[in-house]
Symmetry: C2
Subunit: 245 residues, 2 copies
């Protein structure tokens, strides 16, 4: 048996999320269907770096699975892509150490949140970015972001539904990229709680629009209570950008 | 009654084309549904500059309709967009002369065909551009394009199923835009026959890949027979870009 590590990108707009759900179209289900075909109908279990919600995209999701097929490393992407639907693509594959685990070996994750400015909805962006029709004070957003960097209990910035006990995470970087009529917010950390990037983004947007003061960001963090943070930003702007091991 | 001229953009990937077809989701049907809601259930007939096929996109489709509502010109886009699905958007509206007709008054149309170069399919582009994994000789394509500009019988470059009698059209410009890993071919003319841009593109791609000589483009034109031209390029790369009156 050999362990295969794959980098996968997908357009999340037609999926009910990453994880298998009976009766729903999910990314994991499509990948496992393709793997079963390659393995003569046998089910091949996969593990991913983490789930993504319905509508959330991935540029660099990482998964692993074990196989007894002797396919050269570089042929795995083409073999899988020929069986996968057009909205999923395997961009890289490599044989990995048996101790490698797509979820437990993660060192760092990067998420990006894409926002576009327009008075009119763009049919080409509406599933791929959040539309904002008001101007944003990026400097205020940067100042607010700065105050939550580091290792903290991020209870305030995660879904109240989270079942994870340990809410301490290290947020290493929040970067703002402006290009043309778009703003991309890049988040790097050792791990993210459920809805954390979307709640951080929603709160930063309320600061950028002047609804809240930049100083509130730190206050919200210290409350350790989800009700103080801003709205959860819509899923369509979110991309799981890169997973590092 | 007042005539309203609207500029409409749409992501064609989830539509069975522009024109109403029973039991299918089409752009015209969605627009007429929104108009009926605004007009208290009354059906409002629309006319467009032309149809687009399933999977074909539009940046600047133009339509017109007549109304007895007294909505200010500038409020039409917001009124319609609030009722339209996210993959259609009205970007502009203006009251027009009663003699204006979205189809019969057309002076010039621009279509664009988008191609991307990659060895691996991009899940984010596969419904919005044609993937090409080989390199293209753009100079050869430009030389070939040059030979079909002007007023000609374009029978060779239109679907054999076309019912239109008059196959004479004026092709004013074919321009090649290269940016990053993409090539966009822009076609301007006084009108285009059914599948004309896709067959021109398919033939130009065969020239660019070295399968055919640039000189063949003119020979194909002169044959006036569809069987001599190249394959019809896939719909997902095609955009109705602009309609001028």
């Amino acid at each position: 048996m050999k362990r295969v590590k794959c980098t996968v990108s997908y357009d999340g707009s037609r999926f009910a999320g990453y994880q298998v759900q009976p009766g729903q179209r999910t990314v994991q289900q499509e990948i496992e269907k393709a793997l079963a075909t390659l393995h003569k109908g046998r089910h091949v279990k996969t593990a991913a770096s983490g789930r993504t919600d319905a509508g959330v995209h991935a540029m660099g999701q990482v998964i692993h699975f074990d196989t007894d097929l002797s396919i050269p490393e570089t042929s795995w992407p083409a073999a899988l892509n020929s069986l996968l639907p057009g909205d999923i693509s395997v961009s890289k594959a490599a044989y990995a150490d048996p101790a490698f685990h797509a979820r437990y070996s993660v060192k760092e994750k990067e998420y990006r949140y894409r926002i576009y400015f327009s008075h009119v909805r763009s049919p080409f962006k509406h599933r791929y970015a959040l539309r904002v029709w008001y101007s944003l004070d990026i400097e205020a957003m940067e100042a607010a972001a700065e105050t939550v960097l580091g290792t903290h209990d991020f209870t305030s910035f995660c879904s109240a539904k989270t079942e994870v006990e340990d809410k301490i995470r290290t947020l290493k970087e929040i970067r703002f990229l402006q290009q043309d009529d778009e703003l991309v917010i890049c988040f790097k950390g050792n791990g993210f709680l459920y809805n954390m990037v979307r709640i951080l983004t929603g709160t930063l947007l309320e600061i950028g629009s002047g609804k809240r003061d930049p100083g509130e960001m730190r206050e919200i963090l210290e409350k350790r209570n989800r009700i103080y943070a801003g709205k959860t930003a819509a899923p369509e702007g979110l991309y799981l950008w890169k997973v590092s091991y």
